[in-house]
Symmetry: C2
Subunit: 477 residues, 2 copies
């Protein structure tokens, strides 16, 4: 971000700290769209009714999809939490910002760093354009003060700074995955919310451990209040639920209610929350002036068995560069503006940066490589998407590339090591439109496609400056 912007942002943060509420921007424009991004955590491609789940009932999201656009080839920037969130907020592959780590795939409570100050977030961008901005929910881009949302363009923050399972007890016991999983099976998991995950308002810890039984409900109330408070000015609300990431919690109204078990209870509470947000927008007369996007940060955590979600017909899940790890349900909604339908074109969370900027008349920065494509002509005119490629990084290596309907895997590896990491001299090649489950390797039939993808990779690599690994430094207690 430019120095000038930075000063403005810091000034607003200071104001925010003093007043304990979001900034009051004087620049208002009733013609500007509001943006609401609802981001679930570890929800799979197949976990919503309208994406094919048989026993998780999501009437509000189904209705949102019927009224809006249901995207079926929509990606996140990484298959795990921290880099995926960095991608959404910066419009850049996390390898560029350094939010993709070689040894640590995400930030931990003992991590020292977070999203570098040099990055420009979509919140900073919109704030610069006169928007009120809020982050409600999970952050996971650095829990130390300088990395918190209020120092990254958000006027207001209410939520938890890292994953909902990142508790001292858990981490101290998690010498291996097995002990990590065993922990969840113990009594601590069943009956208490005694996790030392902090709940914060702006930069202050207001509850520790955060009571996660009511956390989805409270995020929703915060979101509704925020919308009502800001209805006279353009706003950007980033509502990032920390569920259905394990451990799973649902409020009394939802616990034990879903056919799908606790995982279904949690998704159904998020669905209800979406309904409440959309109804608030309607009731406040904001629906036609607001764009709402619903998606998730990465695929389902399959090793959690039935406490993890489903990628539907896609292969593998969270942590992998198979489709199940990085393709997500995504619904765009804005009655009267967005043309309803099913969109099989390519899109990514990184594209929200360019799309919102374009719609709000803001220029995207030209001092850095961006990975953000303006999707507004797909949304508003049903035109073909300008995005034709997708780069699948794992940690700091490029594993796979999609070009049009084809995806080449240079490296494959199961989400958690099995099957083992394998380099493919001749990349595996799949036609994702015909074969979304990545079953039928067609590399020998289409050397010309591989050649084209190799060229694309060369071009990509020639411009790649990998940001310094921000996830490496940790200070264990």
């Amino acid at each position: 971000m430019t120095l000038c912007n930075r000063i403005v942002a810091l000034a607003v943060v200071s104001f925010s700290l003093l007043s304990c509420s979001e900034s009051v921007t004087t620049e208002q424009s009733s013609k500007k769209y509001n943006y609401v991004v609802i981001f679930a955590d570890d929800m799979g491609y197949g976990d919503l009714g309208v994406y094919g789940h048989p026993t998780i009932k999501t009437p509000y999201l189904d209705q949102m999809a019927a009224e809006g656009q249901k995207w079926t080839n929509f990606y996140v920037g990484a298959s795990v939490c921290t880099p995926s969130r960095a991608a959404l907020l910066t419009g850049r592959l996390p390898i560029r910002s350094g939010m993709a780590g070689e040894h640590n795939r995400v930030l931990f409570p003992d991590s020292e760093h977070g999203l570098p100050e040099s990055e420009l977030t979509i919140a900073e961008q919109l704030k610069e354009g006169g928007y009120a901005t809020a982050c409600i929910g999970k952050w996971h881009l650095g829990h130390k003060e300088q990395y918190l949302p209020t120092n990254n363009g958000f006027d207001y923050y209410f939520g938890i700074p890292y994953s909902n399972d990142m508790d001292n007890v858990i981490l101290q016991n998690a010498n291996s995955y097995q002990s990590y999983f065993d922990f969840w099976k113990g009594p601590e998991r069943q009956n208490t919310a005694s996790f030392n995950v902090p709940l914060m308002r702006n930069t202050e810890i207001i509850e520790r451990p955060a009571d996660q039984n009511t956390i989805t409900k409270r995020y929703t109330q915060e979101a509704i209040q925020y919308i009502k408070r800001n209805k006279e000015k353009p706003f950007f609300l980033y509502l990032a639920h920390n569920l259905p990431h394990v451990p799973l919690f649902a409020s009394d109204d939802f616990r034990g209610k879903s056919l799908r078990g606790i995982y279904g209870d949690v998704v159904e509470e998020i669905d209800f929350s979406v309904g409440q947000v959309l109804n608030t927008l309607k009731d406040e007369g904001l629906a036609e002036n607001t764009i709402v996007v619903f998606t998730s940060d990465n695929g389902p955590w399959l090793i959690m068995n039935s406490e993890g979600g489903s990628a539907g017909l896609l292969k593998d899940g969270k942590g992998s560069t198979w489709e199940g790890g990085m393709r997500e349900p995504c619904i765009f909604w804005s009655p009267g503006n967005i043309k309803p339908g099913v969109i099989a074109d390519l899109g990514t969370t990184m594209d929200l940066f360019a799309t919102f900027s374009s719609l709000s008349g803001l220029e995207i920065p030209n001092d850095r490589e961006m990975d953000s494509v303006d999707l507004s002509s797909v949304l508003f005119e049903n035109k073909a998407s300008d995005r034709n490629d997708m780069f699948y990084y794992r940690n700091r290596e490029l594993y796979a590339v999609r070009l049009g309907e084809y995806k080449a895997h240079f490296i494959t590896q199961g989400a958690y090591g099995q099957p083992a990491k394998e380099y493919h001299e001749t990349p595996l090649l799949y036609n994702l439109n015909v074969d979304p489950s990545e079953k039928y390797d067609i590399s020998t039939e289409h050397p010309e496609v591989l050649a084209e993808i190799e060229k694309l990779v060369e071009k990509h690599n020639s411009k790649m400056i990998k940001g310094e690994d921000q996830l490496e430094s940790r200070t264990p207690n």
Copy 2:
């Protein structure tokens, strides 16, 4: 069927043969619902947009689901064609009628028999109740005259008598599955419709080979004409598409149009066909007086690779007793009558017999074991389904049983032999609501459920009279 009914049925068939058109029943009632059953062939649980497919676009079926009930735990009576169709039409497990074979899983062009005369079809039942009845599409319950639709309660028949791949050339070359598949890759597959599958009107062959490029379109036209001709009287239309069973054909308007390749072209043409049928019902003022059901005969034929469909998140496909073989997309539609929503209750194609009979005031026969449950209170009042179990037969053996949310596998076997057949001393047990993909065996945790299922099986077996194998006799040329 009773002797009296039989005589009436035969008389009508004779009339039909003479006039080459459907019978004109004098008994008419504007208060009776019309029934349209649209039956696809080898379409998987995951092959429609509203069931989660990313690149097959099915706007008409999606809309039908939005206006009607989308069922997510709806089964067929067998995982392959002939017995599945027998189940739908008789309301009985095919093991009872003898339409489940020990060595032959389906009927072939050299099969000698078909659905036994002693069976009462839903067409015979409704015809007795004053309905005009038609079968348009694939039959596959016996191609010799006495087994054809016109001798099984249908006034009118237009379609092919067995599967669309059952051609002399194919069968003579099909010494193994491999040669069978190789055949499809050959030039015969690509450019010609030169299959000696006959197209019939009533009992007459009118085209051979049937031109399958236009067959879906012609079935649709026949269905529309039939609806228009019969709008003054109650009718039952069984529209059984012979696609997307391989070999795949689409008309000029659809071939090459889908992102999903030829399989998608075919499904999209069927989707368009459904739209045309529903629109015809609306245009003719029949929508509020007609119940339309869309489903398929069994899961996707996975060994056909990308020319086979997808079971979505369900396991395995056609031929197996895993969920992917026998759970199907199913949409019920009747605007103003059927309460829209997603239904996760159990239902089966066999239940159409009791449901239609109940709605039309017809008693179901009491001289035989029926496997048919009246679903009308689910459809019209959103009450819980009275069906709580499901029996999964393969050939003539009981492989698995579902009771409520639990499914026990006594025997498992991959659709085509691999993994090999295995008897489980302690049955595998899955909770299908929580674990629809049948991943997490919970048999050791729930011996009480297994005990309950064992009891159910004992009761089931005590009443089981297996019908003589009607699929065994073949007369090879």
